[in-house]
């Protein structure tokens, strides 16, 4: 995903802002990292360039 996507993403639970933590980039692309809900504190993983913004209880892992 591109960093610019952050502008329109929000926490699915309460629509509050997300904080982006990047652990791996490739050029413009964010490959690994996570979003953290600034209000809920929930974590949303970014793996292989794909952010998983399902509510945490829908991630069955």
């Amino acid at each position: 995903m591109k960093e610019s996507l952050v502008d329109i993403l929000c926490d699915p639970l309460d629509k509050s802002d997300l904080e982006l933590h990047v652990t791996k980039r490739e050029g413009d692309e964010i490959i690994e990292g996570k979003f953290v809900g600034t209000v809920t504190g929930e974590e949303y993983p970014i793996e292989d360039g794909i952010p998983d913004l399902r509510p945490p209880d829908m991630r069955d892992e």
């Binding site: 329109i8 929000c10 292989d48 399902r54 829908m58």
Partner: protein, 226 residues
């Protein structure tokens, strides 16, 4: 079974591409009606193989196209099929859209909306993430008037909502959307064999198959955010 389990299996055995091929017959007409202006941000709700997001960027001129899907396997495939920096895919659920208010100019959805666990709530969410004047192009083949679709639920583990055309209009309005239009977009491309080859696996008679594809086709409901 969860959305993830059901649709990751579809993604794994190639049903994402199969759907793309079949749905394209009517989806392309639906997409071409959307009032997308150059630079617009568009959402594909339940993006599957991602073809609609790609088409909205390439042919539609959108500045940014985002596909959302609840099955990680679908999103992986869609990303793999895509070679456009401005097309992005996100894993997310119809029940809790991870997008800020007024993020999108328009939203398209093909054969996906009725999987929403609470479709009225999803309409309200779309109302929220679309800017005023933004449109929701909601295309479904599974709906009350299409009796040929009724049995599909038996083969799919995720519960499906089967509204009629008037119910789609009523629910859009209940969610606060204007209804700008509704019609049946015919599939003129699926091949219909000569009468003497019926019954087939799917249809008793040729007339039934004609009704299913050329008349009922895809139900399109267009909502607009006030």
């Amino acid at each position: 079974m969860s959305v993830r389990d059901e649709f990751d299996a579809w993604a794994a055995d190639g049903r994402d591409r199969g759907m793309e091929q079949r749905h394209w017959h009517t989806a392309k007409h639906v997409l071409s009606r959307m009032p997308v202006e150059s630079g617009d941000a568009v959402l594909d709700l339940g993006s599957g193989s991602g073809y609609a997001a790609r088409a909205l960027r390439e042919a539609g001129g959108a500045g940014r196209a985002v596909g959302l899907d609840g099955a990680p396997g679908m999103v992986e495939n869609a990303r793999e099929y895509t070679d456009d920096e401005s097309v992005e895919f996100v894993v997310g659920d119809f029940g809790a859209l991870p997008f800020a208010d007024d993020s999108f100019d328009h939203c398209f959805s093909m054969e996906a909306f009725y999987y929403a666990p609470d479709p009225l709530h999803t309409l309200e969410e779309l109302h929220r993430v679309l800017r005023p004047g933004g449109t929701f192009y909601c295309a479904v083949n599974f709906y009350e008037e299409n009796r040929y679709s009724h049995e599909w639920q038996e083969r799919i583990s995720v519960p499906m909502t089967r509204w009629s055309a008037p119910e789609y209009r009523a629910k859009f309005r209940e969610a606060g959307l204007y209804v700008a239009g509704q019609d049946n977009v015919p599939d003129r491309e699926v091949e219909i064999p000569p009468a003497d080859e019926f019954p087939t696996e799917g249809f008793e008679t040729r007339a039934e198959m004609v009704e299913r594809y050329r008349e009922l086709g895809t139900l399109l409901t267009v909502g607009v955010v006030p």
